[in-house]
């Protein structure tokens, strides 16, 4: 990587810290030698100064605190992307890992059922747990799964039990055809799992923080009279890098803040048209004396469809861009931790990662 100041701009008077979006091409992207915005080569790069410039602002949070949108400005894609990747793959959560199936006479096969159970999101704070001691738990030296269910380690495991059997409903109306009224437990939901504390685990939780499934209405299997599922499920702590079931987020993504410039006054019919080619709320029409003038109300809402360039007259006066240093993050938690906690955890993961690697490098120097 050769260092070079990026002073070249694609268009005169277009800011170098923005990506320029044209009808068929995107210009001013990161195709220079570094990802940094135009900088002075003669000045030394200072980390404290870089850190001072970083700015974080909350945009909105859902009522259940599981979805969060926030802005980070004055960082570049490698830093933003590291945060996103850590959120998806390296923040730990608990998930069912070992299923001890005592009975499964349902039509769904053992391995398929066990896989389904593993994917159920658990509502447990993983920070109180330790990682399993071995990567593959419960396989003995002959490569065979253990013959008997282990007791479970209070600091590493959580045990959930499920025991559902389907029976006929004798009180059902003779002409009814709905399985829900004909049978008891014709559908098995995630709510049928009962947490069984190991040792004194119960003392670690209050009523509101009792380990449970995030939602009780996830359909796990369907049964018919005579069929039953009985299993003991052991949850372990893991990261999304190992298996997606450990990923704490449904989505964690970022996008750049769109910018819209109107280089001429757009009035009347054209203003209405301009408003209609953007997403709702992006362009509004204001009264200016007798004229009705289009103004950019909220560029953040733009989907960057570039639909405006299909109108020849509008394309000449509208300039679309994206701010390269303004990242709009959107984090959607699966339920174990609040989104805001996840972001904090992700930063911590990155910090410990750097610290431990740094120590190992220092050990190499000696």
């Amino acid at each position: 990587m050769v260092k070079k100041s990026t002073t070249k701009t694609t268009e005169p008077d277009f800011p170098s810290n923005e990506i320029l979006m044209q009808e068929e091409v995107v210009l001013n992207t990161y195709d220079e030698c570094t990802d940094y915005i135009e900088y002075d080569d003669t000045k030394e790069f200072s980390i404290p100064e870089y850190c001072d410039n970083i700015h974080v602002a909350m945009v909105n949070e859902s009522e259940d605190k599981m979805t969060l949108e926030f802005d980070i400005t004055h960082i570049e894609a490698p830093i933003a992307n590291a945060l996103r990747r850590v959120l998806i793959a390296e923040v730990p959560t608990m998930a069912l890992e070992k299923i001890y199936l005592y009975q499964n006479t349902s039509v769904i096969q053992d391995e398929v059922l066990c896989h389904r159970l593993g994917l159920l999101p658990l509502c447990v704070d993983p920070r109180g747990f330790q990682f399993p001691t071995e990567k593959v738990v419960g396989i003995n030296e002959k490569g065979v799964d253990c013959d008997e269910e282990p007791a479970g380690d209070a600091t590493r495991n959580l045990i959930f039990k499920i025991n559902v059997s389907c029976t006929k409903n004798r009180n059902a109306l003779p002409n009814s055809t709905d399985p829900k009224t004909l049978y008891h437990h014709s559908s098995v939901y995630s709510g049928s799992f009962a947490w069984v504390p190991i040792g004194d685990q119960k003392s670690n939780y209050t009523d509101s923080t009792t380990p449970r499934m995030v939602t009780d209405d996830i359909l796990v299997a369907k049964l018919r009279p005579g069929q039953e599922i009985e299993a003991s499920c052991h949850a372990v702590k893991g990261i999304g890098r190992d298996h997606a079931k450990f990923s704490p987020v449904a989505t964690a993504s970022y996008r750049l803040l769109p910018t819209i410039r109107l280089n001429a006054e757009i009035t009347g019919e054209a203003a209405e048209r301009l408003k209609s080619v953007f997403s709702e709320g992006v362009i509004e029409i204001e009264k200016k004396g007798s004229k009705r003038v289009a103004v950019v109300k909220d560029a953040r809402k733009d989907t960057c469809s570039r639909n405006v360039f299909r109108h020849e007259d509008l394309a000449k006066v509208v300039q679309l861009g994206k701010n390269k240093q303004h990242f709009i993050f959107s984090v959607e938690s699966t339920g174990a931790l609040k989104s805001s906690e996840l972001v904090v955890e992700a930063c911590k993961v990155m910090e410990t990662k750097c610290r431990s690697l740094r120590k190992q490098i220092q050990a190499l120097i000696k």
Binding site: M1, M58, E90, R358, Q360
Partner: protein, 139 residues
């Protein structure tokens, strides 16, 4: 019959021993990191590195673009660095190669230590500012 069965058993035992060995080797020690760590890094061609400590290729096991790209990002702005880059040799091998070329007489490992410090600092800043801004938003 008895002898025959003995003969057939032996190769099976041997084969199993061979299978067992590889996973044992890398799992040497554990660290109190969030991920149970094994041997995490290695210098590629340590002899040539000893001769010229400004030229380093470091293998980082169980790391990916998350660390690779963010460290590269910081290194590329450091004055001591002539060239830096990383590469994922194969998607199925869980490792990255990190290449650093520093200016004459500067130890590449020391520069790398500085880069890791910087990235740690950046993320602790982001965390601090995030917490602060979140506190404000809910109050």
């Amino acid at each position: 019959m008895g002898k025959k069965s003995e003969k057939t058993e032996k190769p099976v035992e041997e084969a199993m021993e061979v299978e067992e060995k590889p996973p044992v080797e890398p799992e040497a020690e554990e660290e109190d990191l969030n991920v149970p760590a094994k041997k995490k890094m290695e210098i590629l061609d340590p002899k040539s590195f000893e001769q010229d400590p400004s030229n380093l290729t470091l293998i980082l096991y169980e790391e990916d673009h998350t660390i690779g790209n963010s460290i590269k990002h910081i290194l590329s702005r450091m004055d001591e660095v002539e060239f830096c880059g990383y590469n994922v040799p194969h998607p199925l091998e869980d490792k990255i190669l990190f290449r650093v070329q520093t200016k004459d007489g500067i130890n590449a490992l020391e520069v790398l230590v500085k880069a890791f410090e910087s990235v740690e600092q950046i993320f602790s800043t982001i965390r601090g500012k995030f917490e602060e801004s979140y506190e404000q938003s809910i109050s």
